[in-house]
Symmetry: C2
Subunit: 347 residues, 2 copies
Amino acid sequence: MTQELEPGMGNDRTHPFRIDGLQYNNWSEKIFRQWREGGLDAVHVTIAYHENFREMVQVIERWNRWFEAFPELIVLARSAGDVRRARDEGRTAVVFGCQNPSPIEDDIGLVEVLHTLGVRFMQLTYNNQSLLASGCYEANDGGVTRMGREVIREMNRVGLVIDMSHSGERSTLEAIELSQRPIVVSHANPHAWAPALRNKSDRVIKALAASGGMLGFSLYPHHLKDKSACSLEAFCEMVARTAELAGIEALGIGSDLCQDQPDSVVQWMRMGRYTKRMDYGEGSAAQPGFPPQPDWFRDSRDMARIEAGLRAVGFSERDTARVLGENWLRFFEAGFGPMQADAREAA
Amino acid sequence: MTQELEPGMGNDRTHPFRIDGLQYNNWSEKIFRQWREGGLDAVHVTIAYHENFREMVQVIERWNRWFEAFPELIVLARSAGDVRRARDEGRTAVVFGCQNPSPIEDDIGLVEVLHTLGVRFMQLTYNNQSLLASGCYEANDGGVTRMGREVIREMNRVGLVIDMSHSGERSTLEAIELSQRPIVVSHANPHAWAPALRNKSDRVIKALAASGGMLGFSLYPHHLKDKSACSLEAFCEMVARTAELAGIEALGIGSDLCQDQPDSVVQWMRMGRYTKRMDYGEGSAAQPGFPPQPDWFRDSRDMARIEAGLRAVGFSERDTARVLGENWLRFFEAGFGPMQADAREAA
């Protein structure tokens, strides 16, 4: 298995692998074409916020229509090999993920079913308490629950990657500890840099990296210092500081791009069906909708700007390539298949 | 509204109201006839352990068939008035309840729908963590969650009674505090008497009673001192001590009778769909099934023995009548309808 990749190895690529560790756009041909323009080889796309199993399947049905309609632009990826193949063919590989365990409902048997359907990431919580763990918006974080322990074991077995982006501190640390395989925070930044509830403590980032996990840096304004006004330089300097803290191998991009979405979608993301009252989440009554993107990352075509920005703050070509995509690809390689027998026995 | 009832006020009743605050039997004509023989005026029956909404509706469909088949024995009760009417007609009133919030899934809108369908009790948790609160089997009890607070408010509004029988200590105390209306522990005993995880601390029992709530004493062997070997006298003395602790008004019976059930049902109760491994719950590998009932409470026909047992340990006729059913009836009277406007404003 290739652990190190040469830049421009794809047959029509002149830049290193580019992978976005999380997007949730209002999908359209326009966006798929922007993926190609931005040179994105793979994108982890959210197929469920609060959807139950059947509703998630409906989202997959919509994706199946897009795969059928735009075969020259996009293709489903079930493995790192599929991502390499997509790059060779000049297409963007789509990796399915869920931001919430709502699609497995209360049924551990659905973990394997999700994997069979192509899902490769699942968050154990989304802001609120789930059946598995506590979200970062709960006043109290009781950690990983009884069902959570069982589900982690099962996710490990089948190769469904645990994502703790929206989880509480204690739950995240416990998931890192309990999981027999590395886990991810697909989209968040260091709390020390921008003190959003969603951002992660140095303790979490270090534990994540030490266990072979990955942190995807978020471009969502509520996770940035100075929000929409954050500069590219400030963002890239934060990446550099995180590399010092956690090592370069643990870092990727998870832009959390929510492009072309009506504000009704951010309400669904924040509230689902849990309350009858307004919950502004990271917004406020004065700014209830999606915040404007920073002017240097408006959509996927701006991935090259981040590449240039990292070089400008001193990252080598090699390390820039790692952060832009190679680290994610290496993680996909190890994370998406069934757990090896020897690891299972040790578990 | 009648707060005090005279014994034998029903047109064919010579004993005071008899109400069982929880049963989960393998329902049959035999059992409905035993209800009549035992003089039961009302029974709170469990219609969901881990069922989701649609599955709970299927259970209601089964009850609708029984109501149609045995109109001389049973009738659905939506109110205390329905219970009085059933008694006058010589029938047993059936009150629907859920032991888990699984039927509302992640959707607060289903709270009102459940009430419309006749459900009058819902536990916020069943042993494990739910979306609303922590169960008594979790190592950590984070208390009532964000969604839990919203759902308590909505349950209060429509008149769906909060039941914390299977919840953790902290969650139970918080639910008592957060709820604008009295809540119940429909089936459990004092932990000081029998130290099962499911039994309740004196602190919980006192807080419950102080807020106008109710405790239904369980006859399930795992909740009894000396389990299946518990004597009627020991049980009744425990009731007397609890009356000293919490006052007679807060006490009723919630037998937790699980009659004629195959052991596959206790597995469903304990495990639902949360794990692929065996969970023996209150049982063990050596005793995985339902434990045998104490010989003085084999089925609903033995309610009269409890009545006699309470009299034997010194309860007055008046207080015995309260514990056997009048307290439950008074609670139904206040608890099953929409919250009054003045209470809503204060909330």
